[in-house]
């Protein structure tokens, strides 16, 4: 199986990047942590999110650039992440995989 292996948290972070990169704020540490907290109801540490992002970047699933310094950040730039084609491909494969499982389940399961 040549597919890139992703952990659950990695997958969530990757999805968050996909969602947030389209918005004005962009996808970066704090916005992703907030998005995850909002959706999963669990507190995620920014540091942890960063580590996952770097890993995803090393796997080539996201790309990044620096930008958007502001006063509240003490004049520091943020690293804005975007989904790469490979990332999109992985997300699509993930979805397919899960859908395949769901379709294999008998219908009464959903009622």
């Amino acid at each position: 199986m040549s597919r890139t292996y992703l952990g659950e948290f990695e997958e969530l972070v990757l999805l968050a990047v996909a969602v947030l990169e389209l918005q004005s704020a962009g996808a970066y540490g704090v916005s992703i942590a907030d998005e995850l907290k909002l959706r999963t109801q669990r507190t995620t540490s920014v540091t942890g999110v960063h580590v996952v992002l770097y890993r995803l970047e090393e796997k080539g699933l996201v790309g990044s650039e620096l930008g958007g310094a502001s006063q509240v950040r003490g004049g520091r730039r943020k690293r804005l992440f975007t989904l790469t084609a490979a990332g999109q491909q992985v997300l699509r494969e993930m979805r397919q995989l899960r859908l395949g499982f769901w379709e294999a389940l008998p219908t009464p399961f959903f009622s």
């Binding site: 920014v46 540091t47 960063h50």
Partner: protein
């Protein structure tokens, strides 16, 4: 799409920004962050965290925001960041050395990839080479590792012992505040120190100094008592003490409360005693009969105290009042009689020394009308718990001179020395061997090793060996710890869970590994390959000098230890062979622990004699191996007024002399036939000397005014320490009798006699268990300390010799290796194996001789000091030194010969072939 309710990207000019800058996150956390985070990631992470911090101040308030910030900063301590940070540092270093660019380009930040912390391939290679080297030179490795392991094991064992001794009594919560009340008295210029104090002292201290003493507890000596539960009899060690003892000793109660001794008819038992007496049933509320006289209800069970505590042998505590109610005479005793013990707990702020000074004359104040006692100049003082065990000795001026602490120091010193010697041996062997590897270094360098890699290799080798040695040392310690516990009378175990222990062990491994590895790692790695490979590499003659010095030092220590062991042994033998003045063989003693003994003694006596296995029985106030009481108040003809009369006193029954077999020098024994013997003394020779009586028999001595006539003089009986002079003692018939002495018929086997005697005791006094001691065993127990020291010294001397021999062996092999060619040439020229052996061995014999010359006066000086402790002591005989000298010479030759003969036997063709 769910969007966060707040905009994560704040307005740069917004109020939040101002607030954030006004209220910075905790600075130390920021600093930690910037220190730990890889430089290239710092900006974005710090920015994110600060943004989040500002957000949280708004949402949750500054306190929680700060808390979260700290938490996030601490979360940087995770493998990913640390690895990248270290990789960054490593890369910087590598860039510094590396002239060519790296071929592989990491995915992000080409200049900072995140490779593993160290190159695993290289480490694996180091270990592989190290292992191969160990295997290739099996003999060397074995000597090296075993020597170091033994040294470490000795150090660990002694370390455990020292730890055990130093933590003595730390079990008690009030360790710093518990004291024992004791006193000094002065007789004829010599001060003695004792823990027996007068009965009224306890109440006096309590009443007079309530601000200093939190509790003052009167107590009876810890001793064996007979306990009866239903029809079962047990002999248990216990103490009668006032009711606050469980609080003072902070007993860990398993059942009941610490207030359990407030009722006069109560008893608290240890968990193990409860198990012995009651098995699995609940002991609470059960009734126990103590000494067949006192009924007591069990009101508490406490956890057994650990072995390294003062009260660990106490299996039960019973109230003091209970004891007094059965022994009314106690209350009638005044300030002149020293017979009880007093323990106390001070208030937290009280200084022991100051309080000691304050109370020192409290006894003298109450002796105003007794000139004789006043002259003894009693000084009450407090002996704190921290000094009970390690500083229990007092000299003849009443100064606290230490005690066990001296052995703690001595053994620590030995441990340090053994460890040091093992360490240096280890270094020596590894350096001696590393010189053989100079060629390897040359080739490695020629092939392209940088110096750092060679250093890494040699260090990993030395650490591998040290760790292996540690493994062996720990298993060795576990193996012999049981034996050592038995020898040292301890219950120690390796402190597997003590971080301090691991810290020490880890520190030692680090230091030894670094030290032992440093010479080859730093010195050899600096060689120029061309010189080494060309063969012009020469180690100076100086290289052997430190090794020679080391061998001398090692043998000095070993020889000193061996001489010490022999002299300790000689001293013990000397004291054992001392004439004791009575015969210990087949002599039993039974304590009269219950009233029945007194009322039924005559019956018992008769029955025992009728049995045919008993030669004679007699009663006495104390055991033949102890002198419990001494008194003053004696007057005799020709006594000088300045002489203070202090005699050991022992009440005996008329048959006593016949039973113990004392020897008369003059006069006769007590006899039932003379009624006047109730006013007669038998004295020992020491007493005659003390009184300077020319013709003692027939002289009259007055004791507190009452006249007594001396009817006999016996040879000195060794009742106290066999190392001390015999105390002047008088024997008489009037007074309390507490022990029954039974002399078996010499023709009857002890194993036959004992059941018969026991049967008679059971028949006559069924309520009390038959509990007896053999006098010869009690007497032998007096040598326990000295024998223990002797055995420990012997063990350490053996190990020291072992380690020294390893050092010698290493040096011999080193020398043999270096002189291979010389030997080859000599052989070619016609030298015989014997001449070569003599040539090579000569040097070592000289070294050992030097060591012997240094060790002799050292040992003599040290042992002379040790022997001075004993009044009855052996002379240090010259033959010990001669024997040890020859012995060490023999051991040296044996050790060295293996190498020298091997070297001498080598075919010169082999050793000269390469020229």
């Amino acid at each position: 799409m769910g969007k966060p309710s707040h905009n994560p990207t704040p307005d740069p000019q917004g109020s939040a920004g101002q607030r954030a800058s006004a209220q910075e996150p905790p600075r130390w956390a920021s600093r930690l962050l910037s220190w730990l985070t890889p430089a290239e990631l710092l900006e974005e992470l710090q920015g994110d965290l600060q943004e989040q911090y500002a957000q949280r101040i708004d949402q949750n308030g500054p306190l929680r925001a700060r808390w979260w910030y700290v938490l996030e900063a601490l979360m940087v301590i995770r493998p990913y960041y640390i690895r990248r940070r270290l990789a960054g540092l490593a890369n910087r270093l590598r860039d510094f050395f590396l002239k060519r660019p790296t071929k592989t380009r990491p995915f992000i930040h080409p200049e900072h990839s995140s490779p593993p912390l160290m190159n695993t391939d290289m480490i694996r290679n180091y270990l592989k080479i190290a292992w191969r080297n160990l295997i290739k030179y099996k003999g060397y490795s074995a000597i090296n590792i075993s020597g170091l392991a033994v040294g470490m094991a000795v150090a660990i064992t002694i370390g455990l012992w020292v730890w055990d001794e130093l933590s003595f009594d730390h079990y008690y919560d009030n360790y710093d505040r518990i004291v024992q009340v004791a006193q000094h008295g002065t007789v004829n210029g010599e001060t003695w120190t004792g823990s027996n104090v007068p009965f009224p002292l306890g109440d006096e201290l309590k009443g007079q100094y309530p601000n200093d003493f939190k509790r003052v507890l009167k107590a009876w000596h810890i001793q064996d008592h007979g306990l009866t539960v239903g029809t079962n009899h047990f002999s248990l060690t216990g103490q009668f003490i006032e009711s606050e003892a469980p609080d003072m000793l902070s007993l860990h109660m398993l059942k009941g409360t610490r207030a359990g001794l407030t009722e006069p008819n109560s008893i608290m038992v240890s968990a193990s005693a409860a198990k012995v007496m009651f098995g699995e049933t609940d002991p609470m509320g059960k009734v126990v009969k103590i000494n067949n006289a006192m009924d007591a209800t069990v009101t508490g069970v406490y956890d057994d105290m650990p072995a390294n505590t003062e009260f660990h042998q106490v299996q039960f505590f019973a109230p003091w009042d209970l004891y007094v109610s059965g022994n009314h005479w106690i209350k009638e005793q005044g300030w002149g009689n020293n017979f009880i013990q007093v323990w106390a707990e001070l208030h937290p702020h009280v200084d022991v020394d100051k309080l000691s000074a304050k109370i020192k004359d409290i006894k003298l104040k109450h002796l105003a009308n007794n000139k004789e006692l006043l002259a003894l100049h009693f000084q009450i003082f407090l002996h704190p718990m921290s000094k009970w065990h390690l500083y229990s000795g007092f000299d003849k001026q009443g100064n606290n001179t230490g005690g066990l602490i001296q052995y703690v120091w001595l053994f620590s010193l030995i441990a340090g020395f053994v460890l040091l010697v093992a360490c240096i041996n280890f270094m020596n062997l590894s350096t001696a061997r590393s010189e053989k590897r100079a060629k390897e270094v040359g080739i490695r360098k020629a092939v392209g090793s940088i110096r750092g890699q060679l250093i890494g290799q040699f260090f990993s080798e030395s650490f591998l060996v040290v760790l292996l040695a540690l493994l062996f040392a720990l298993s060795l310690t576990t193996l012999w710890l049981d034996w050592f516990n038995q020898l040292a009378d301890k219950e120690m175990s390796i402190l597997w869970t003590n971080p301090f222990f691991w810290l020490l062990v880890g520190g030692f491994v680090l230091v030894t590994g670094l030290l032992a590895g440093s010479y080859p790692a730093l010195y050899l790695s600096a060689f120029q390959p061309i010189k080494v490979l060309k063969g012009t590499f020469q180690v100076g003659w100086l290289a052997a000098l430190p090794r020679k010095v080391l061998v001398v030092v090692q043998f000095t220590v070993s020889v000193t230890l061996i001489i010490g062991t022999l002299i300790v042994y000689q001293q013990v033998q000397h004291a054992k062979n001392r004439p004791v003045g009575y015969s210990r063989e087949g002599l039993l003693q039974v304590q009269m622990t219950a009233n029945d003994f007194y009322t039924k003694y005559e019956v018992l006596h008769q029955e025992l004699l009728n049995s045919g296995v008993v030669y004679e029985t007699a009663q006495s106030a104390s055991q033949a191996t102890e002198l419990w009481s001494n008194n003053s108040g004696f007057e005799w003809p020709g006594k000088s007024p300045s002489q203070q009369s202090d005699f050991g006193t022992l009440t005996v029954s008329p048959e006593y002399g016949k039973t113990v077999g004392w020897q008369f020098v003059a006069g006769r024994d007590f006899s039932k036939d003379f009624a006047s013997d109730s006013a007669a003394f038998v004295v020992n020779q020491a007493a005659v000397r003390f009184m300077s009586l020319k013709h003692p028999v027939g002289e009259t001595i007055r004791r507190n005014g009452t006249p007594y006539r001396i009817i006999g003089v016996i040879q000195d009986m060794v009742m106290g320490s066999p190392f001390e002079p015999v105390y002047p003692t008088v024997f008489f018939l009037r007074g309390p009798l507490n022990w029954i002495n039974i002399k078996l018929k010499p023709t009857v086997a002890t194993s036959d006699a004992l059941p018969q005697i026991e049967a008679i005791f059971k028949k006559v006094i069924p309520s009390v268990p038959f509990d007896y001691d053999f006098v010869d065993q009690r007497y032998a127990a007096k040598f326990a300390d000295e024998e223990r020291i002797g055995q420990l010294a012997a063990a350490f001397a053996g190990l020291a010799i072992f380690i020294s021999c390893l050092g010698l062996f290493g040096l011999a092999s080193f020398v043999a290796e270096r002189r291979t060619k010389e030997i080859g040439v000599r052989k070619v020229l016609g030298a015989s194996v014997f001449t070569l052996w003599r040539l090579l061995s000569k040097d070592f014999v000289l070294l050992v001789f030097i060591a012997f010359v240094i060790a002799t006066p050292t040992a003599w000086y040290g042992l002379n000091g040790w022997l001075k402790k004993y009044t009855y002591r052996t002379e240090i005989s010259w033959w010990i030194f001669v024997a040890v000298g020859w012995g060490s010479l023999l051991i040296t030759l044996l050790t060295v010969s293996y190498q020298t003969i091997k070297a001498a036997l080598i075919n010169p063709v082999k050793s000269l072939r390469s020229e």
